[in-house]
């Protein structure tokens, strides 16, 4: 007759449940410490930038800054403002977004939903990768060469927007593609099985499911192009006067405003440059916030 203990498997070594081996404990602590340290390291530049920009920029953050242009204001004069630059930047980025987002989202839809393993899909995907690597000044030079020199158009906000479009498209395509790939195939199949054609499946089932991520991707791209300076100098040039028409003549913009003011040796100009930077950051943050609120409204119901 066997006893019960002989039947039970031998206990594993270190079977005490409340015991953690010292080496595991040390590794755990060490990695935890590294993670916190990297987090703090990553915070340093962020906090430093915010601190410097707010510290220097808050002084000129007055009503005048939002009401006046730099027309007739020289570097050493106090006063003046970035009204012309804010208007310019908002118009240029709005035009960029209107042109780039439909092209980019439709491209991503083609790549994910239609191209499959086809040759065209691979070619498009390759060129999107190439576009991602284009330095911004090259995009500006391209528009300068094609739009201004070859077609003979003058400097304008639109020309700048075209250059920014080249920079924005690949970012939005990649972000949208990733989000569409995250939509489970089961949802597409469920829709097909109801006899819903593919394009309606895409517009009514796939896109709404991926919307939050797509909007976030678009906002990141907007934030990126909003800070571009070099391509704008080549395509819009810059001006100190107010030009609300983005289709004719040089226009102001916040990056070129900052570039112009910081190049001036006078302290008053430097103050304006810092405030310009602060306003640029604030605009990007506000847009981000707005996009998040919009996206939240359409978020998949289960996650609400």
């Amino acid at each position: 007759m066997t006893t019960l203990t002989e039947d039970t498997p031998p206990a594993a070594p270190a079977a005490r449940l409340n015991h953690v081996s010292p080496s595991r404990k040390i590794k755990d602590r060490a990695v935890q410490g590294l993670v916190y340290l990297s987090f703090l390291l990553a915070l340093i530049p962020l906090v430093s930038v915010l601190w410097t920009v707010v510290g220097h920029g808050i002084g000129r953050l007055d009503a005048q800054f939002f009401q006046f242009s730099m027309n007739g204001v020289s570097g050493k004069d106090p006063g003046g403002g970035a009204y012309h630059a804010i208007i310019g930047t908002l118009e240029q980025v709005a035009i960029t977004t209107v042109i780039a987002v439909p092209i980019a989202v439709l491209t991503a839809i083609y790549l994910v939903e239609y191209a499959g393993n086809g040759r065209l899909g691979k070619v498009v995907s390759f060129f999107v990768d190439v576009m991602t690597g284009i330095p911004s000044i090259v995009a500006g030079l391209f528009v300068l060469a094609l739009w201004l020199l070859t077609f003979g158009f003058e400097f304008s906000g639109l020309a700048g927007a075209l250059a920014l479009t080249i920079l924005m498209i690949p970012t939005v395509v990649r972000a949208t593609e990733e989000m569409l790939k995250l939509v489970p195939n089961e949802l597409r199949e469920a829709s097909y099985a109801l006899g819903v054609p593919r394009w309606r499946t895409v517009t009514r089932v796939v896109l709404p499911t991926a919307l939050t991520g797509i909007v976030t991707g678009i906002m990141l791209a907007v934030a990126r192009v909003m800070g571009e300076t070099a391509p704008l100098l080549l395509t819009i040039f810059f001006t100190k006067a107010i030009n609300t028409d983005p289709f004719t003549g040089p226009q102001g913009s916040l990056p070129t405003f900052i570039w112009d003011q910081i190049a001036d040796p006078n302290a008053n100009a430097h103050d304006r440059a810092w405030t310009g930077a602060l306003v640029l950051i604030a605009i990007i943050m506000l847009l981000n916030l707005a996009a998040r609120l919009i996206a939240r409204r359409y978020r998949p119901a289960a996650a609400r």
Partner: protein, 258 residues
């Protein structure tokens, strides 16, 4: 409302892989036919050829004939989208649309196909939810997200969504494999009720379930890894489970292999 399916000489491929070979069978209207067999034997693939969902997978193709009454589903002028409206499908894992409410999930097939008019939609949604034995549980929260329901309720929601487009045939691919016994019972009861209106084909790994719900049972098998799946035999469920013609069927249902 229900149609007969007649399959003859059907082969299906995934790219170069021959998935199922030379299948012929008849599925009578207003009956439940169960497909059983070991994993990878092509039951699900075959099921998906019956509403042209097989070809949704890149590289997949089908040869042979599937007659729905007088119409060949693989005829040259046949629109796969129209086929799927006629032959509905319920999947293994409940997959309600996450962005839609319970109401919108049931109405999805209609709305996405352009049916308008609130009164008419209301009527069909209630009827479909009643049909799926879900109405009493959700009638007070039709506006709530469909993904908030329990697994069993979600699966019945998916059945409601499938029958809302008024198909002739309902295909079910292991509809209970992700559910607990109580929810499974609810779905099985529902299948018994639905067969008065629809032709039902169900894939199941659960032989008791096949014995409980189906009128006919088809046994599929593969000769070995990589070989195409074949239909071994199809007969009345009572016969398959008590006195099958083929030795392989008997071995499978008695648990001698698989």
């Amino acid at each position: 409302m229900a149609k007969r399916i007649e399959v003859s000489g059907l082969h299906a491929y995934y790219g170069g892989v021959h998935a199922i070979e030379d299948i012929s069978m008849t599925v009578e209207p207003r009956s439940v036919t169960a497909f059983i067999g070991p994993s990878g034997c092509g039951k699900s693939t075959f099921l998906r050829t019956l509403n042209r969902m097989h070809e949704v997978i890149p590289g997949a193709r089908v040869e042979g004939k599937v007659m729905l009454d007088e119409e060949d589903l693989y005829g040259p002028s046949v629109d796969p989208v129209a086929v799927r409206r006629t032959v509905g499908m319920v999947f293994q894992r409940p997959n309600p649309f996450p962005t839609m409410s319970i109401y919108d999930n049931v109405a999805a097939g209609l709305k996405l196909n352009g049916v308008r008019g609130k009164a008419r939609l209301d009527e069909i949604v209630e009827e479909s939810l009643q049909g799926a034995n879900l109405w009493n549980e959700v009638k007070d929260r039709l506006g709530k997200p469909g993904a908030g329901l329990s697994g069993g309720q979600q699966q019945r929601l998916c059945i409601a969504r499938a029958i809302a487009v008024r198909p002739q045939v309902l295909l079910m691919d292991e509809p209970c494999s992700a559910l607990d016994p109580i929810s499974t019972l609810a779905i099985e009861d529902l299948i018994g009720k639905l067969k008065n209106q629809f032709t039902i084909v169900i894939v199941t790994h659960n032989m008791q379930q096949a014995a409980r719900v189906s009128d006919k049972t088809a046994f599929f098998n593969i000769a070995g890894t990589g070989a195409p799946g074949r239909l071994i035999e199809i007969d009345d469920t009572s016969k398959i489970f008590t006195n099958p013609e083929q030795k392989a069927t008997e071995d499978y249902i008695t648990g001698r292999f698989g």
